[in-house]
Symmetry: C2
């Protein structure tokens, strides 16, 4: 939305009125009225006490921008009409010196959104109407206090003035007089204050503080609309995938005053406890105060209920104002029964009379969400479907990983990508070896690397968390850390790492090896020193919701695991199999890597086979471990995928060390490294291409799988291994390599006399494979969508190099989301759907799954559910999230169909 006049048409209805007599809106109109406006209308219809007012719709916001940020006259006329209605309802007049009407102005988008203009109270006050207010209330101090408050709010949110200027004046005055609280200010003080305010405002903004109530009104309404596009709001929208087209509504409501005396109050409350979910009314209030005071921290609010207040030795609203408290209890019960969800409410009590100013679904912790859902299910308020939909799948991360103590102090160093959730603290190390070494001394470390590679696996295991300066959400570090359930912040591009100095620079800070940092992998934040954390914990509500989810979902959930340990974690989290075991990680163990290198360095097939013969029993052990851990659940094993150069030394020094250690000729080692170098390894000699040129590698792996299977089957453990061939582009690749695999398996079956079922399938991770999936399906028992590589190739974006521009892309809305986090439905998703359709057409019983990182993303999971896949596979710690997301997708689809 830029300041250029475009064509627009006026909305059919611009302004929605609400009052006890007449209400245009209802809760269903959130898109047009915003959350706040819709709920004000709904509460009005419920006959709850709501001061009358009106909502200027979000459609007007669109018109406002298209009309160069000016409200068209017909809409202004509608607004004035509604204002008149309030006047006649209340018998007051806006801007009048007798019995004047005052209003509050509040923004309200479809979803709650920080960064926008929030509230202007007491609008309409000026030197003249002030007199009317004094007259009407008989409370001069109250009226001047309200005026002072109005000036502060208006100058800040409408005139764009820095609040601190007026705050300083107020504080100076209080210091001068020796006052503790704002309430200590006398009428004279307040009169002086407003004068000083006026001159300060003029000086700071070069504008006279508007006396004309109508000018105040238009100014505030325009300010709300403009606040839709403040940079904070824009950023928030981008971070939360909120469309910039939605716009905000403006709520104009007649004022009720909580600051009129000690029979007045204002407060906020939750219908249940938002941090643990317990079923009790929970909130805070302030006597003789206005809305903002409760949250502003100027005075400490008191608990509403007697039981809570007692704990803190304070006086509750229940005790001090039993009448209004009773009204409030009735209201909150009514609201929860009506909305069937925990509500977050705002209220004001004016002269012992309760007024409701807002209700909305209350935010809650994951723990609370689970408890509330289970309780409401037991109370019969909601059904199982609804209970499932009440929990944000992503929020379960809070329960699965340690997280930062919200109260702990912290110094933010920088922010990277939230690559793998959980908090972690430790001393910085810059190499895998150092992490391993320090672990043996029981020193906690954070492994800092530009980017990790499979060689860093042991260091990743040994460290508490990983920080990388390159790479995105699906970079090696991110993928592996998620697999391990280990905290990882990736792509910290503000950090500069110097391996030679063992130093990391972040903005002004220079951090040396051994310095302590704390990562929050759930937010991507990196903190200096130690920040206190809270341990992960699961409870019965979690288990209950997981069981409900399993009942509701049709998508199976598997895990990506490469080790027996990860496999066990995954199974404990409810994984129904392994969807991806990456065999390359198995070759990086200290006992294997040199044999692997010998294999690569071999000049002849004989030498190569000799090395493979030594690897085979090790591979067999790997698979035995994995199969055993999964206790007969399906296990999909991906045959070797990365290019061979990944296993060779990357630097001159590493080459020298290796050649010394193994007494290899340095020159031929370097020649081999050089000859295997690739310009674009992602598109290079890897995956099934390796096996087309060196079929003996896949043959060895297939033999090891078959031998492991035979050993278990002989022990009476049934299992059906699934062997997966990666990076297929052409059906012929799969046909040829399937022969290799089948030949190997059959040879083991023949020599052992043990027959067993097994599947041979392929990854669909290249556009060409998706487009010709019908031909590929002929040779495949299953497809597993490798959406990481499919995203890289379909979009032509290297995940390891994209950090440099993807953030700009998301910030400028070119991509609505990072396509490596949530699947690009129109591009990559289109190919997935094409392949599903072609694959099933060619082979109706083909098994379809996805093992890319998108398998752990709730939005992507919904997409895969709708695309008709049989299963998703994600990192072990995402399994619970995936189970819930899959269940929600089922429930939503069912509800959609029932409509």
């Amino acid at each position: 939305m830029k300041k250029v006049t475009q064509k627009y048409s006026l909305p059919k209805k611009s302004v929605y009125f609400f009052s006890a007599n007449e209400t245009d809106g209802h809760a269903g109109l959130k898109n047009i009225l915003g959350g706040k406006g819709a709920n004000l209308a709904e509460m009005t219809s419920l006959k709850l006490p709501v001061p009358p007012g009106f909502t200027i719709s979000t459609e007007v916001c669109d018109v406002f921008y298209k009309n160069s940020e000016v409200l068209p006259e017909p809409i202004k006329a509608d607004i004035l009409m509604s204002l008149k209605k309030i006047e006649s309802l209340l018998g007051k007049k806006f801007g009048a010196d007798k019995n004047p009407l005052f209003v509050s102005i509040r923004s309200g988008a479809r979803v709650s959104m920080p960064g926008m203009m929030d509230t202007v109270l007491n609008l309409g006050l000026n030197e003249k109407t002030l007199q009317g207010l004094i007259e009407e209330s008989g409370n001069e101090r109250f009226a001047w206090d309200s005026y002072r408050r109005f000036m502060q709010m208006y100058s800040n949110v409408v005139m764009g003035m820095n609040t601190s200027f007026l705050d300083i004046i107020l504080e100076d005055l209080k210091d001068e007089k020796g006052y503790e609280q704002d309430n200590d200010l006398s009428v004279e003080d307040l009169k002086n204050l407003t004068k000083k305010y006026k001159s300060e405002i003029l000086q700071s903004t070069s504008k006279v503080f508007p006396e004309d109530p109508m000018e105040q009104l238009w100014g505030a309404i325009n300010a709300v609309f403009k606040s839709w596009n403040t940079s904070r709001a824009v950023t928030y929208r981008q971070l939360n995938s909120i469309s910039s087209q939605w716009g905000t509504a403006v709520n104009v409501q007649s004022m009720v005053f909580g600051n009129k005396g000690n029979d007045c109050a204002t407060g906020v409350a939750f219908t249940r406890n938002p941090s643990n979910g317990e079923k009790h009314f929970y909130g805070e209030f302030l006597l003789n105060a206005q809305g903002e005071d409760v949250v502003a921290g100027i005075r400490t609010p008191q608990p509403i209920t007697k039981s809570e207040a007692a704990k803190m030795g304070q006086v509750s609203l229940e005790e001090s104002m039993p009448g209004p408290f009773k009204q409030l209890v009735e209201v909150y019960k009514k609201l929860e029964a009506h909305y069937k969800d925990m509500q977050d409410i705002e209220f004001t009590i004016e002269k012992e009379k309760l007024w409701m100013l807002q209700t909305r679904t209350g935010k809650r912790t994951a723990k609370a969400a689970l408890k509330i859902a289970c309780d409401m299910l037991d109370e019969g308020l909601i059904d199982e479907d609804e209970a499932l939909l009440r929990i944000e799948p992503q929020s379960l991360d809070q329960l699965l990983h340690p997280c930062l103590d919200p109260k702990a102090e912290r110094t933010l160093l920088t922010k990277g990508l939230p690559a793998s959730p959980g908090a972690a603290m430790g001393k910085i190390v810059f190499s895998s070896e150092d992490a391993v070494r320090l672990e043996s001394d029981n020193v906690k470390t954070i492994l800092v690397r530009v980017e990790t590679s499979p060689e860093d696996i042991e260091g990743m295991v040994s460290s508490e968390g990983i920080l990388t300066t390159r790479g995105g959400m699906t970079s090696h570090a991110a993928v592996v850390a998620r697999g391990m359930g280990k905290s990882c912040v990736a792509g910290c591009d503000e950090a500069d790492v110097d391996y030679s100095k063992k130093q990391m620079r972040i903005k002004g800070y220079v951090l040396n090896e051994g310095d302590i940092i704390t990562l929050d992998g759930s937010t991507g934040e990196v903190f200096l020193g130690e920040v206190k954390t809270i341990k992960a914990s699961l409870d019965d509500n979690f288990s209950r919701i997981m069981l409900l989810a399993d009942k509701a979902r049709t998508l199976k959930v598997r895990a990506n695991s490469d080790t027996p340990h990860d496999a066990e974690v995954a199974r404990n989290f409810g994984a129904e199999g392994i969807g991806l075991c990456r065999t390359e990680h198995m070759f990086f163990g200290a006992d294997r890597i040199d044999v692997m290198r010998e294999m690569i360095m071999s000049d002849s097939e004989e030498e190569r086979n000799e090395a493979l013969d030594r690897l085979q029993p090790m591979q067999k052990q790997d698979f035995l471990g994995l199969f055993t851990a999964m206790k007969g659940l399906p296990v999909t094993i991906r045959l070797l995928d990365p290019p061979l150069h990944e296993f060779l030394p990357h630097t001159e020094q590493e080459a020298i060390d290796l050649s010394k250690r193994l007494s290899w000729n340095l020159e031929s080692l370097k020649l081999k490294v050089k000859s295997l170098h690739e310009f674009n390894p992602m598109l290079g000699h890897r995956g099934c291409r390796l096996a087309i040129t060196h079929p003996e590698i896949y043959k060895m792996q297939a033999l090891a799988i078959a031998e492991a299977a035979v050993e278990l089957i002989k022990q009476g453990d049934p299992l059906v291994p699934e062997i997966m061939i990666p990076l297929v582009a052409v059906d012929e690749e799969l046909r040829v390599l399937k022969q290799v695999v089948v030949g190997a398996v059959e040879s083991v079956q023949a020599s052992t006399g043990v027959k067993f079922d097994y599947l041979v399938g392929t990854m669909i991770e290249l556009p060409r494979a998706a487009l010709t999936a019908d031909k590929i399906a002929v040779h495949a028992d299953f497809f597993s969508f490798g959406t990481n590589d499919l995203t890289q190739t379909t979009l032509g974006v290297s995940r390891d190099d994209s950090a440099r521009f993807l953030s700009t892309y998301v910030a400028e809305g070119i991509f609505s989301e990072d396509p490596f986090q949530s699947i690009d439905q129109n591009g990559v998703g289109h190919l997935v759907k094409t392949a599903v359709e072609l694959g099933r057409k060619a082979k109706s019983n083909i098994k379809l799954g996805i093992c890319g990182e998108h398998g752990g993303d709730p939005k992507s999971i919904e997409f895969f559910h709708l695309a008709g896949l049989d299963y998703i596979s994600c990192s072990p710690y995402r399994v619970p999230i995936a189970r819930l997301a899959a269940a929600q997708a089922s429930v939503r689809q069912r509800k959609e169909r029932e409509h």
Copy 2:
């Protein structure tokens, strides 16, 4: 085809008979009868003298392999039936001692194919039938000579014996007796010889030479079928995109003997001169000889016509056998009138009677092809369409580039990819600088690099040819060399380059700087030392065919050119515009590169703009030159595409030199190089992504284009620049950047007051762009398919790294062709078709072209024509090829529709 019995069904008809009385086949049945069999049948139907025989169809070949390389009994029965028919027609009997029948066995696939078994003559001869032949011919020597020949051929092609063993025996005998020629052998000699042959065959093959004529027959037939899968045949098929499924036919024909006496002869002839196309009968013959003698070089054949023979002081067939010569002239005229094309014929004269053994379309040079097509058009034999179809587009390369003198001696060093046609000779240099330096001393050089980058451009200009050890048909070296019309052999992976030693090793050879090599860019061959070349030349027939092509084609043909010189070359070759000007090459000039680097090193937008301001007038000059060279024809300019690190130093030493030269801080230069490093640059921060993060770069380029256009338009030269934005994945990228471009152009139009039309379009080179082309078309005046990158991403294959496995892929038939040479129609082509459809649906008048390297490949051109593109763009030297290929595509489509 592996030796595994599969299911098969017998063909409806396995054996096709041909004789003066009864002929089952005709020329239209080439797929079933093979070329040889179909034409034998056709000649028989034309009542030409053809010895009766039969063809075992190619369908039998398929059955043969499916049946574990055994002929099924019913087919054997059919063959025996046909043999009986010949016997009764000729009154002879196969294997009889009286009046025996002898046959020849020849292979014959759909297309002529070296590497398969060729011919066995005189089959049926043994000690017994030999007596019959003596009796029938009254010529004992002839009979024994035929037997000797038969043993030589059969032992070799059927029994797999090395011919040299028998040759040695023959030569020893001749030496012993002091004979010059085989004809000097006496009956006794021949008798002895056959005895020695038999024992040698037994010793070498451990098999008795078969006496039983039926065993001989089945052996020979099986050998023909088996020869379909010899490694030479397999290789040939792969190199020439011949399906392994086609199979070969077997021709069994009654023998006529050209070696029965001096009233007998055998010969081969062309109905027109195959090397220059002149219209005269042209051929060679040998008196008293059998088929193979003519080509075997044992005796020197003589010219057939008197005029040719006179030049060489020899006696022609015309003179020595005027009767058969007259028959031959009648036959060749009849054949050419019937086939309406130059024929390559084989004949035998037995006792003054002419027998035709083969006719086929004659191979010819490009020069001859053009002349024959033009002459036949003038003669009314063929129409314009047919004339166009007669010329293999690719063959025009012979006329456009110097080529190796076919007679010149040569020592092959290695073979790489035929990346850019033409022959080139020069001293090896290993750096661009050396090539430039030596050129100034008039020394011809061949630039040898592992792979070239844009920095090598000047060296490529200065050298005669380029050899790279990496990279494929669309690598930088290949693309740029083709653009320059310069010979290039790429991806020579047998060569190992050591820059530090200025040395290249190829197998045993060590070549140092200054050593001479010769490249044949049309075949990919690299020769040691100098090999003589023939200059390129074009003639009137070429021009005439090009004009016919322009009349026939609907596809426009443009060229990819970056410099005024290339543009002029392209225009002279008939390019109708520039389809791709890669602006990055403009920044590598000595005067630009440092300014470009300053721009990249800038820390602020101001500094960057300052550098861009200095580049802008240089860019303007570039575009002025290009527009001027193209004289108002459309010019498509692609805005900056490669990642910025390509412009920075690649090695430590280069960085040190640069930092010294420009007095830059070495550390910050190295830091910048490091920070711009990419793991997969092909999928990195390049193309429009650069401009999303640094819009000022495209703005500068658009300003320069607009200023150049204004300057020319002011001079009265009309032009419509086409501005192209590369690497778009999402419509939003194009929308945003189009605004940048339009803003820049409009600012120039406003400041100069000169309005002009211009187009803004995009490359479609990512799968996502193709899949969402409808959305992208909204913002595009044109699409240009970048099929190089589209191939890389769709197949997930890096062109620079693919050499290592693509050759195996093509050799094993996993890809039928190198997808970077000829478009992968099912994968990449599918996306092209999708984008054409979606693009036109969204914007019916959108201009559609292709500027990938496939634009110069005839097969791909046909695909693009059928896909409905408006134009193709290729390197300048491929423009004539493209014009002809486009014309052929039109003609074929028209013919297809008329059917």
